[in-house]
Symmetry: C2
Subunit: 220 residues, 2 copies
């Protein structure tokens, strides 16, 4: 077995699942119910099972389904983490995915095979995380922020219908800073991914036009 | 062993090494000297060796050193390719890296442990490649092009001293299309990564200012 460990690395998939709620950007963490690092907070993840998984991405979807009961539409590979020291079980490869959960599906997250789940502020986690998961969150966050900086619209974070103000708040939550309304409106104007609906959000102020995402939109 | 293959995937690293020569963008391919797919052209790559490699990136550097005798400064992870069908040896993960070779180091490429090496046009390879390497080249090319489209300067492809015209030709070779000179000059103006030298290239026309890359520049 020890000889085999020299030939075959352990292969894991980990997922940084983000959402935006009233308080801002949140990342899902689970409290580990098993050794190693039992009791510590970590990204949801698991070992690749070649007999079950068609690909690494399929493994990431299986892990999310099994551990937190959600089926994610947007899943994107961030990068690999590898080496002898990142996991006490031996030389390992972790393939990190970034996933986005729509705001209206936050309550659908279940708790299976883990001690607890929680949504935490990725800018200030406040726990010492298991393995290299603090680095992983940093890498996933950077990927997400770089996309929004390049004007990609994080529509996977939105509910089915949303106002442009809600979309701006979501972009601001990702970037961790406020944006000028006029600049934001100018940037998204003409985006083919935004479809104007005939519905309005009624509130304290004048009714706000509701939008939906074009079907098949890409976060690019 | 067959039970183990169900638990441990084979893990490979592959490298898409690009250069720009007089004819344009080129990618390095090697002709395989071993089964499987003996005789077929492929990206240089090899199996991860946990007893030798500190990380997947270290494995990619080792493979480049062993197979083609070059030490690359710029190496960047593109993404993973995985599944039961991509390699006849079993369920496998390949981690693809994109690497850039300066123009004045093209001749340093050696041929070890492979039947032949060649620089080919990545836009029209003209061979049926081994494994999923045609897809891999496509993914690496897209990463490279997207960076240049976002105005990152591919300075790792340049010799130590170069003219702005040579830099423009290199960007054009990556994109596979010509660029307007005035637009290009405006975009790179003020780049902190370009350092004006006191040297000039003398040619048929008036002397052209030579530049070098700032040490520690990033391709971002």
């Amino acid at each position: 077995m020890s000889k085999l460990k020299e030939l075959y690395p352990l292969t894991f998939v980990d997922v940084a699942l983000f959402c935006v709620d009233e308080q801002g950007l949140r990342v899902l963490l689970v409290q580990r119910a098993l050794e190693p690092e039992i009791g510590r907070w970590a990204l949801p993840g698991g070992i690749l099972k070649p007999d079950l998984d068609a690909s690494l991405e399929a493994a990431a979807r299986r892990v999310l389904g099994t551990k937190i009961g959600v089926d994610i539409s947007h899943l994107e590979e961030v990068r690999t983490f590898s080496g002898a020291d990142r996991d006490p079980r031996g030389w390992s490869v972790a393939v990190l995915y970034c996933a986005l959960l729509p705001r209206d599906q936050i309550d659908a997250v279940a708790k299976n095979k883990v001690a607890a789940v929680d949504w935490l502020d990725p800018f200030h986690i406040g726990h010492r995380l298991a393995f290299d998961h603090a680095l992983q969150i940093e890498a996933a966050l950077r990927l997400l922020q770089n996309k929004v900086k390049r004007n990609a619209l994080p529509l996977h974070l939105m509910p089915e219908l949303f106002t442009l103000t809600a979309l701006q708040r979501t972009c601001e939550a990702v970037l961790g800073r406020s944006m000028d309304k006029a600049v934001f409106r100018r940037r998204i104007k003409g985006s083919e991914d935004l479809v104007e609906t005939e519905e309005f959000e009624l509130g304290r102020q004048r009714p706000a036009q509701l939008y939906r995402a074009r079907s098949g939109f890409l976060f690019e």
